[in-house]
Structure formats: C-alpha cells, structure tokens
C-alpha cells in the first residue's frame, strides 16, 4: 500500500517536526521548554517571523524541531505566512505538531482543519493548559483525538507539564502508519468529494495519500494537486466534473468564493468538535475578566495615550537615574584598571595602545551597560505583557494619518532595542508598501547602541535632575521626526491605498521573571561581547590611526620650548598643545581635517566627524572613538580622565546639539544596513536610504545648530 511508504527516506531515529499554529499560541515557548533553546517569546502576534531549527535528543531519537511563524490560516499573503506555507508545502518533515491555545480552541482548530487536508502525520498540542484550568475550560482530549483522528496531548509550555507525554506521542505517531484525519464536511461538499474520489478510484488513480484527499484538494483549488493531475489523460473527464461540483457547492453556500465555502465548512466542523469536547464551567464568566478591567484603563479613549507617554517617560527617567548609579563605579573601575595595567607596561607605545586605545574604547562602551539593561527590561515588559498590541491599537489613528499602519508600531518599538530584529519584524506587515515605508522609518527610532551617546552628552550638559527628561525628549523627537518622514515618503515615494488594520489583542499575561531575565541577559551579553571583540578591535584601529605617524619634528620643537619654560603650568600647557599637534598630523587627523570643511557648517570638528564616520560600523563605536580620541589627545597631563568632562570642556553646546541630531537620523550601522538591504529587496533601496538619511540628518543638524546658537547667543566656535 502506498500509504505505508515513507514520504521521504529519512534516516532512522531522526524525527523532523514542523511546529505549526496560529500566532501567539506558545510555539516558540514550547520548544524552549522541550529543549534548552532560547527562542524569542513575546505576548503578541508575529514574534517569530523566520523559521528556525532546534535540535535535541530524547531516548534514542534525534529531534529536529522547526519553529515556524504563526499563521491564522493556511495562506500566503504576508512574508511570514509565506515562510510557513512554503515550508509545509515544499520541504521535508516527518510530522506536524499543531500547537493550539486551549483557551481559544474554536479559533485555533480552524487552522487545524486546514492542516488536516495536507495528509501529514499530525499531533495536536493543547497548550496553555494552565490558563485553561484557571478559566474553567475543560477539554476532553481523548474524545478530541477520536473525533479528529490523531492524538491530542495537553501541555503547558509555561508550567512545563505534559512535555514528556507529548514527545512520547510524537514518537508513537512517527512509528505508526499514517492515519487519515477525520475531516467531515456538509452534505453538499461530502457528496462532491465522494463522487470525485469514486471517479478516481474507478480509474485506478493511485494517490500517495488517498483519493478522498485528492478530491478535497481539487475542490479547494489547491495548485499543486491541480498541476499533478492536469497532465493525466483522465483530466479531460475530470475537469467538467470539477466545474460542475464547484458550481453546485457555491450555490449551496450562496457565495461566489470557494475559499469562503471552505472556511465556512471548516468553521462548522470545528464548532461541532468543540461542542462535543469542551466544557466551560466558570462561575465568573459573566463578570469582567482581568484583561477587560486593565483594558478599561490602558486603552481608555482619552487617557490611553497619556498613560502610554507617562510610562515611556518613566522608563527614560529610570534609564538615566538608576542607570547612572553604577556608572560611576564602572568609570572608576576602568580608570583604576588603566592605571594598574599602565604601570605594569614599560614600553610607552604598548602602554598607550592598551590604556588609551583598548581600555578607553571598551570602557566607554561598557560604561553604559546599566542604561542599556534598563532599556532592554522596558522593551521586554512591553513585549511580554500584551501592552504592545494595545499601543498599536491606540496609535493606529495617529499612525494612519501619517501614512503608517498601526502594526508598524511593533517593528518600530523593536527598533528602540536594535534595528536588525526591527527590520525583520516588519515582515508582519501584509502590504509591501507599508513594509518598505516602515523599513525606512525604523532608523528614526534610536537603537540601544545610540543610547550611550545620548547619555554621555545629556550627562555632560544637563544636571542630573533634568537629564532624564532630555533623554525622553530626544527619543520622542526622533519618533516624531520619523512620523513626519513617513508622511513625506507616503506622499512621494510610497503612494497607494491603505491596508486594512485587523489585529488580535492578546490577553494580558504576567511575564515570568525567568523569561524577562533570559531575554535581558541574552541581549546584555551580546552587547558586552560586542564591546569585548568588535569594539576592542575598532578602538585599536582608531588608536593606531590617531597615534601614527609620530612626528619627531613636533616632538623636538615642543621639547625645546618646554625646556625654556620655567613654571610648571606653562609646561603642561605646552604638553597639551604638543599632543594636539601630534594628533592632528596622525593618519586619522589628516583624514579628519580633509573632511572637516564639510562638517564645519553644522558645527562639528574633525574629531566628531570621525566619530560619526566610525559609527557607521557600529553605533557603539561613536563613544569608543570619542573615548580614544580624547584620551590620546589629552596625553597624561590631564587629571580628571572622565570622558564626560572632556566632552563638557571641549565641545560647545550648539555643536553637541548638532551632533546628537546627526546621531538620531543618519544611516544605521553596517550590520543593520545589510539586513535593511536584504529585507527591502535590493541595493537600490539602500542607496535611497543613504541619500534620504544623509540629506535629512545634515539639513536638520544645520537648522538645530543655527537655532541653538541664536537662542543661546553663543558664538559659532568649533569644538577642540
């Protein structure tokens, strides 16, 4: 029997599982609790946008689990849906584990019914059993299995219950011959399915699965089945049959859309199954749920947006106030480390490389770890509580006015952490124009790596008490500029009709501390790892370029002058001038001087210009470069080595404002640019992005610079 033949020749003891389900049912979390993977988990639809494979061993089996983006129906409209659709249709796997939310079976089984027509081995994972229990929902899993024709197992990814039973069931199903799933349609459809299946039977058509399955797929207009049968001789007789069947079914359902017919059929089937297997005994069912009560406040038509702004303000306040407490210790630590390590190295050049290069550069980046952690915690809370979708709901009205889609909020918020996952998460937007527009705007949401620059500069120019507010203002201004840019782009480059906004609002969930801890820890370690590797390397490069070539002429000239000067203060002054002269004729100094004229109109000197250029590699490099440039330039003569003081001393306020504006707007880092180019679909878009951000950044920095000069009445002097 062809039924028993394995679909693909997989080596024994390997089981390849496709994890499929609607969004936000806990697929990724289920994998995390089965294996020790750390897939991204969040309480909104569209967390996973790319397939990812996880491996683990159980008994004598090697498992490969493929986590797929959630999909409401078996369609391929958006990119993430296409990922799942294409995987299921075109790739090899042994069985489907269909994850469903036990508290919302009726909606979830709709996809299950569709999957049943794929004729793959299947296991149903009834996830969120813990929540179902709390809500008084009882599911008769045994009866459900019987009705569907494949096993259903109760699990909870959060409470880690039923996991082993699930794996055992998967193995059983894998080892047993495939069973036909028991999908039953209405009389009219059953009649036609039977007729076609019988016709195929009498013509000895041997389907890989069953003729009933072929019949269902033909009636659903499934492309692949059509293609296979299209070239066979029996097609000439089959085709008129199909046309007639199609007409019959559509009249019966009173619609001209066969897709709708099947949606209704599946819904009816699911309703029947749910009625038989689910009991709800919740005495509180009539009362308002917790989610309803929280929503009464958080998405209040008047208070909703102010509450959101207040929460954001609080977050930045915390970022500054709390984040700055350990900063002093870290700063002190690196100062101490520089001294200690410096004293052990006798060679001047190597000491300078280690102390002024690596320690200053890496130290400047590590310094901001506490701020970054607080920001990451904020984003993790937003993602995992369910508030994210609420804000998208609140802001859709405003976003829509500016040509953006409410769901753009999700990639945009992700952008406050890092632009790379943000570009990826724009895939949840169905419409390509909306997606491209969002991709162009994501850069305006300052990523975590830019936070250090802001904290450094606000700390240098503002008192502790207002610095948090300034930080908040920078982020809000960035976001507003993004909205305006969206409007401009929508009116010029991305004209078109508006995409509908239909979004599921998940129930509120209290995220476990462990989940937050893992999310934040993973991101923080990544930040530190980058500081220790990439940033250290970049700092060495900057140190090298700013130290060599060494001019003996300058050295001698100053040595002579210093010998003539008697008082210590004068000698120190000369030493500072000497170091500055050396720095200016270094490789980096020469490059910087060459580009300085272009930056002069916006009030930046060559050091800041170089830092900006270095920031194209990674935004953290901006502070590390400033750290090196100001450490090298200062030489050993300076007593207070902190970078904040150097910034305050050397950079006029107006120049600082202009610098911040450029940082807010200009091109994202190299890695992000690569991802942008890939997601947007071509180098052409990168060129647009480059032109768009560069022109905007320059123009706005110029305006900001001039305005600040005007308001403060300060003279236009360049930083030193």
């Amino acid at each position: 029997m062809p039924d028993n033949a394995p679909v693909c020749p997989v080596t024994e003891k390997h089981i390849r599982i496709a994890l499929v389900g609607q969004p936000n049912v806990g697929k990724s979390m289920l994998i995390n609790s089965i294996s020790d993977a750390r897939l991204h988990v969040g309480n909104f639809s569209g967390v996973t946008v790319e397939k990812s494979e996880v491996f683990f061993d159980y008994k004598e089996y090697h498992f490969t689990v493929v986590d797929l983006p959630g999909t409401y129906a078996f369609t391929d409209y958006s990119i993430e849906e296409r990922v799942t659709h294409d995987f299921l249709c075109n790739e090899d796997y042994d069985l489907i584990v269909n994850v469903v939310d036990s508290t919302n079976l009726e909606k979830n089984l709709q996809l299950t019914a569709e999957l049943m027509t794929m004729s793959k081995k299947m296991v149903l994972a009834l996830n969120m059993t813990d929540e179902a229990q709390k809500e008084g929902i009882e599911i008769d899993a045994a009866y459900l299995s019987q009705l569907l024709g494949f096993p259903a197992v109760k699990v909870s990814a959060a409470a880690k219950t039923g996991i082993e039973a699930l794996i055992e069931t998967i193995i059983e199903v894998h080892e047993a011959p495939r069973q036909e799933a028991k999908l039953i349609f209405s009389e009219a459809v059953e009649e036609e399915v039977d007729a076609i299946a019988r016709y195929l039977d009498t013509h000895h058509f041997k389907a890989a699965i069953s003729n009933r399955n072929i019949a269902i797929n033909l009636l659903q207009n499934e492309k692949k089945t059509y293609r296979t049968l299209h070239d066979l001789p029996l097609w000439t007789e089959l085709q008129p049959m199909l046309i007639e069947a199609d007409r019959h079914i559509r009249t019966h359902h009173d619609t001209d859309d066969i897709k709708e017919v099947f949606a209704e059929e599946y819904a009816a089937f699911v309703r029947g199954v749910v009625a038989e297997t689910v009991r709800v005994n919740n005495p509180k069912a009539q009362k308002k749920s917790l989610t309803d009560r929280i929503d009464d406040v958080l998405i209040h038509p008047v208070l909703g947006i102010p509450i959101f702004l207040l929460l954001m303000w609080g977050l930045f306040q915390l970022t500054f106030e709390v984040g700055n407490i350990p900063m002093e210790w870290i700063d002190g630590f690196f100062g101490w480390l520089g001294d200690v390590v410096g004293n052990t190295i006798s060679n001047d050049e190597i000491r300078s490389l280690v102390v002024d290069g690596i320690i200053s550069g890496v130290g400047a980046v590590v310094l901001f770890t506490p701020n970054i952690i607080i920001l990451f915690i904020g984003i993790a809370l937003l993602e995992s509580t369910g508030y994210m979708s609420r804000v998208a709901f609140l802001l859709d009205g405003i976003f829509h006015k500016f040509g953006l889609h409410g769901q753009s909020f999700i990639p945009l918020v992700t952008g406050f952490g890092c632009s790379i996952p943000a570009y990826m998460s724009a895939r949840i937007l169905k419409n390509d124009r909306d997606r491209l527009l969002t991709l162009f705007i994501i850069g305006f949401m300052s990523c975590g790596a830019r936070l250090p620059v802001y904290v450094l500069f606000t700390g240098a120019f503002f008192s502790q008490s207002v610095a948090g507010n300034v930080l908040f203002a920078i982020y809000i201004t960035g976001a507003l500029l993004g909205l305006i840019a969206a409007k401009v782009l929508k009116l010029t480059a991305f004209k078109g009709v508006d995409e509908p906004f239909v979004m599921e609002m998940p129930k509120y969930r209290l995220p476990s501390l462990k989940l937050i801890w893992h999310t934040v820890l993973t991101k923080t370690l990544m930040y530190l790892k980058k500081a220790g590797t990439f940033i250290a390397g970049a700092s060495m490069l900057v140190w090298f370029l700013s130290t060599y070539p060494h001019s003996d002429a300058i050295e001698q000239n100053y040595t002579v002058q210093m010998e003539k000067t008697s008082e210590a203060a004068g000698r120190e002054q000369l030493a500072v001038e000497r170091d500055a002269a050396q720095l200016e004729q270094s490789f980096l100094g020469r490059i910087g001087k060459a580009i300085e004229p272009a930056f002069e109109p916006i009030g930046l000197n060559w050091k800041l210009a170089v830092a900006l250029q270095a920031g194209l590699a990674a935004k953290e490099v901006v502070v590390s470069t400033l750290g090196v440039l100001y450490a090298v330039g200062e030489g050993a003569s300076e007593t207070d080595k902190s970078l904040v003081n150097a910034i305050r001393e050397h950079i006029p306020f107006a120049s600082a404002v202009s610098f911040i504006v450029v940082i807010m707007i200009y091109l994202p880092c190299l890695a992000a640019s690569v991802v942008f180019t890939r997601e947007a679909g071509g180098i052409k878009y990168f060129i647009y992005l480059f032109l768009f951000t560069t022109v905007t950044a320059y123009a706005l920095a110029f305006i900001a610079y001039r305005l600040t000069l005007l308001v403060t009445g300060a003279p236009a002097v360049l930083p030193t």
Binding site: G304, H400, P500
Partner: protein
C-alpha cells in the same frame, strides 16, 4: 418584547453592544483574514470599545479580542441582539 430586525454596520453600535454578523462586505485577503479570526456570517460579536477619535474599534469574537480600523468595521453588517 418584539425586536425589529434592523441591520446596521458595526460602527453604529455603541460600546458594550452585542450583535450577530449578518453579512461581510469585505473581499479577498481581508475577507479571508476576518473569517480566519472567526468573523463570519452568524458569528456573535461584542463591541468592547473605541480608540481615540473612534478611528479604531475593539471587538470580541468568541474568546478573542480583535482590533479593527473604522473602515474595516463598516464592512461588517450586524444585527444587534435584543
């Protein structure tokens, strides 16, 4: 009490109103999406509330909360329950 069968579109309902879907005037992808959320002929909806300026509406279908823009909500014809 007798109820007159009045058909209205969803946005004409007030907060907290319950209604049954009579007709979906959407097409193509949007229709599919709504149907996959369970918004189809015969489905029971509860209108949970509006976003600022009534631009977006939140409804409950079965056990799921759904946010829709006004334009989409207008395509859903419902009959309010007694």
């Amino acid at each position: 009490m007798d109820t007159v069968a009045t058909m209205v579109n969803l946005t004409e309902c007030t907060k907290g109103c319950r209604a049954t879907v009579v007709k979906l005037n959407a097409r193509g992808a949007l229709k599919q999406r709504l149907v996959s959320f369970g918004v189809m002929k015969g489905a029971k909806l509860t209108l949970l509330g509006y976003a600022p300026a009534k631009k977006t509406v939140e409804i409950k279908v079965g056990r799921m909360r759904l946010a829709l823009r006004k334009e989409e909500a207008e395509m859903i014809e419902v009959q309010p329950d007694a």
